[in-house]
Amino acid sequence: MAPVSTERDLRLDLFRGLALWLIFLDHIPSNAVSWITIRNYGFSDATEIFVFISGYTAAFVYGRAMRQHGFIVASARVLKRAWQIYVAHVFLLAIYLAEIAYVANSFDNPLYAEEMGVLDFLKNPDVTILQALLLKFKPVNMDILPLYILLLAWFPPMLWLLLRAPSIALLASASLYALMWLFDWNIPAYPSGTWVFNPYAWQLLFVFGAWCALGGAQNLSRWIHSRVVVGLAIAYLIFAFAIAMTWYFPRLAVFVPKFVGEAIYPIDKTNLDVLRIIHFLALAVITVAFVPRDWPALKSRIFWPPIVCGQHSLETFCLGVFLSFAGHFVFTDVSNRVFTQVIVSFLGIAIMVAVAALISWYREAERQGGGPNPPAAKPGYAGGDL
């Protein structure tokens, strides 16, 4: 089964870029602007979009490499990518340690004696840093990259299978997901508990993305565009929205029949609850139905900022994590007025766009022969960078 088109699907870049913005906004604690992000209006959030599109692009890029250069070469490239992400993760960790060491030294308030105990691990950095390098100790909001690393490390055999028997590969992935629910599989974390994003669960969305990239989306398109499916998707999104409203207006909670509550709660993010998957799929169906691949606006200036971010997602993601730390600093040390929060949010996104544009420019300059690589080594990034 061959990829249907080698032309870059800008919708992927657009929505990954938007997902990165939302992740940035959600990662600044107490940010009033994060009020606009999708997690407040339904079950799924930007993580689903990011993981799905990452799977899609990974299959797009490395699937072609595997077909052209064979299993070994493609696997080496996948693992190289995983290594780059690992290095990025360790870099963010260093910034995180600097932040909390600062807080530990500068903040003291009897009201928060208990909460400050979270800094206790600074007392034995040997253990903590080692556990962090093993991806077992993961600070708050730094769970996506370890998940991504693991998903990529495990991707070569899955890609091999996807290229030969896509249905069997998807079935295997779904079975792993089911077994995870059955046997409570997860990876242990430090100092206790398990991974916040259970890789056994989230791999399903990644593999599903890959499956779609390798022709699955084409096979599904008749379904996706059917009125019944679009109608069901809209109905489900409205249902999720109604439930989400009861989280903010406790009074509305009495309207949720008890059996509905028992059926849906708790909506498990760690193990990628089925309700979340369906919510993501519903969003995807609506998107595909209303945003055609050749929509002219995709090439317009309005959508250029998110698209350029989506095209350099690793750099933009890392920058976003760093900027969310910085933004939190501004709130705690300068001002936490809503006005400041809006400024910080917009400034952060502007910086993400500027840096992504700079990277684009540099890549282009390199490609045209200005850089150390000869122009012949043009990377096959038709689906964008990972």
Binding site: P110, E114, E115, L119, V254, G261, T332
Partner: protein
Amino acid sequence: MKERLLLLALLMLGSGSARAEHPEACRVAENLLEPSFRLPQVTRAIAAKHLTVLVVGAGSSQLPGSSGAGNASNGEGNAYPARLQYALAQQLPGVQVKVTTDVKAKRTALEMVKTLPAALNASKPALLVWQTGTVDAMLAIDPDQFSQALDKGINIAHSVGADVVLINAQYSPRTESMIALGTYAEDMRWVALQHEVPLFDRFSIMKLWGEQGTFDLYSATKKLDIAERVHDCIGRLLADLVISAAKPEEPSVNGSR
């Protein structure tokens, strides 16, 4: 995000019954205090003119200077359990109010459940006020295990004829990027709903205070004054919640609509 909606909710629902004797500071959060469920044992205890409350909690239920364990004294302590006793006694004239505590820092929900039967047995309360969630979040305890501990604790209290009010974590802006309270707060909300016990949403209330500038929760001070005022307000609002959930009249969830 949420606070925008909360403000909106405040405007839409109207500010309900603002009590005049309260310091202005506490009043902002009254819309968060609508009890969703009743406290029948407390109703009975108030009718019998003798109300005993047991507060079980961890580090955020105490302040330096107030003794963590034992009696919450006669309203002289500065942490919220003592302030609760004071506020309850003021609002329930003629009722003998006694708040006892089982408070020790750094305890997870499961650790508190272990000492719960003994503590309940010692004070035979009509109401268990259970503050938890912070330490579990800090240690990233398995959320399933956390929920199970909550289930267990509530069942133990109900089995000895005590009502339960849950209190979630404090809003702590400085450590927000280090402690992921999200899952644990959700779990508490869900368990409270499932067992039909009221949840005192300390997190949202304190967040609203921070937003509106009622208290400067960012301040790096070694002094106790802000902490004491925060605990005083929590004690008062908690008393409001308990009393309105124990009112013998029709439940507010039906009455107000």
